[in-house]
Amino acid sequence: MRIRPKIGVVSCSGECCGLGTVSRIATRMVLEDLKAGETVTICLPLFLAGDSGERRFAREFPTVAVEGCSKLCATKAIEKYSGRTAATMDVEELLEGWGADPPRSRRVLTAEEIVTARRVAEEVARAVGEIQGDLHV
């Protein structure tokens, strides 16, 4: 029997820099397209404000944190209130590995930066797929 629960994807809130915007957009791309119907977003501000639904979901189901930088806010929040994340993606590290520059604006991404966000989304989707594979019963 194959068990495929939905996987929670939580982006950092990332107001401080463009990498946070990339994290957010990549998370939405996973939710809307790459793993539509298989993922759920955990809204980090709601989670931090104490919403029991968000915290309960993160306790009961696997989560992937998508972090703009090494401060790892989303991962730390999930671990503090719900439990370990199943995976963490560090967007800053990914971009450095690809030789891609961080976005110049935190409000609007260029077409090239959107392509980079899509690459991040594909990495997140890959991580989601691995978690789903691990859950195969």
């Binding site: 939905k6 929670g8 759920v40 955990i42 029991s52 639904g53 309960r56 979901f57």
Partner: protein, 142 residues
């Protein structure tokens, strides 16, 4: 499981069905009495999203079963709260004029939509029980 509600978890959402109420297939709850309070279920408010506007096409007089008791708008759509049975409107919830989000925040309490007198007192008993409504929700999400 709460003593006051039946509960169904879908993804991260805990949907509640108030015990002791009756329910229409159009997702309206009814608190039985000579004058019945009614409103949108937790499931309906969750699916519809945040209510930005809510209006009453009529605040008095008779309404037939299935006719709109209230019209509400979210960013997704313009929707209707349909009369679960033929009734006479006794009172509408004035608090919703300035704060329609009460329907989202407290659908079974402060977010009540109208108080009505059924034209046929037995019509309330013909509505769904909480358990039947829970099954209707479960089937819709399957």
């Amino acid at each position: 499981m709460s003593s006051e509600y039946l509960e169904l978890t879908i993804d991260k959402f805990l949907l509640r069905v108030r015990r002791g109420f009756r329910y229409s297939r159009d997702h309206v709850w009814v608190e039985e009495g000579p004058v019945c309070s009614l409103g949108l279920t937790d499931y309906a408010q969750r699916r519809g999203a945040d209510i930005v506007f809510l209006e009453y096409p009529r605040t008095e007089g008779q309404i037939l079963e299935g006719e709109p008791m209230a019209l509400y708008e979210t960013i997704k759509a313009a929707l209707e709260v349909k009369a679960p049975f033929a009734c006479e409107v006794v009172e509408t919830n004035r608090a919703l004029e300035g704060r329609p989000e009460l329907v989202n925040e407290d659908p079974y309490g402060e977010g009540w939509i109208a108080r009505v007198r059924p034209l046929d007192p037995e019509s309330v008993g013909r509505l769904l029980s909480p358990e039947e409504y829970l099954e209707l929700m479960r089937a819709a999400e399957a």
